[in-house]
Amino acid sequence: MSVRDEREARALFDQRYGAAQVQVQYEIERRVIGGDWGANGYTTMAQADALASGLGLAASDRLLDLGTGRGWPGLYLAGRTGCRVVLTDLPLDGLRVAAARAAADRLAARAGVVVSAASALPFRAGSFDAVVHTDVLC
């Protein structure tokens, strides 16, 4: 992906996450992927569960979710497994929604958000036990 592609993608998602979701969008998302996270990719709840199983995620783990958008699937995985999660992405508006959802779902003590590009993460090596990214590479 070129720098220009990255800029265009960022502008697109800035615009998309800057718009508040309305009820019909959540209803559609629930019918399509089984959740209501403000996502519009292809990762279903069943596939998020498969990631959790494949990674052996447990309550003692620290999970990094790259390109989380509005918090999918990182917050879901934190809720399901009890792990701690750091959600990263570039669009600030998406992370604001994710932080609000974490608070509403009583996950705020185990969930943090960080504005960061995946190519320049501000974390020391070994900070996480597992990393996920869905619908990010493409």
Binding site: I28, V32, C138
Partner: protein, 111 residues
């Protein structure tokens, strides 16, 4: 590490590869396989599950839902943006149906 990826089907002709890249997401092109890339990056125990059928079903479901709610959804975006998303999703679905695009779910562990 666990992730999903959409990628162009292996063994495509040049013309088919161009169509796959035009219809797929931005970073759909690959010069290697996920397994090779993960191994080169120091990962082992790579498990890969082909989720192309589920991808097709999910893409079709999004498209059907969006087409059923065009009026509600189009007004949420700048003029023409939603129509472009519909066209992009139709092209993507056609490419999946033509066998040009696959989707995979991978997990791997650091050596």
């Amino acid at each position: 590490m666990g992730f999903t990826s959409i990628f162009e089907a292996p063994g495509l002709s040049s013309a088919a590869r161009r169509r796959a890249r035009a219809a797929g997401p931005r970073a759909v092109a690959m010069r290697s396989t996920h397994r090779r890339l993960l191994r080169a990056a120091g990962f082992a125990d790579v498990t890969e599950v082909d989720v192309t059928a589920a991808f097709r079903a999910t893409a079709a479901a999004w498209l059907a839902e969006w087409e059923s709610h065009v009026d509600d959804l189009a007004r949420l975006e700048p003029p023409g943006a939603f129509e472009q998303r519909l066209a992009d999703r139709r092209a993507l679905l056609a490419a999946v149906d033509a066998g040009l695009l696959h989707r995979t779910l991978l997990t791997a562990r650091r050596r």
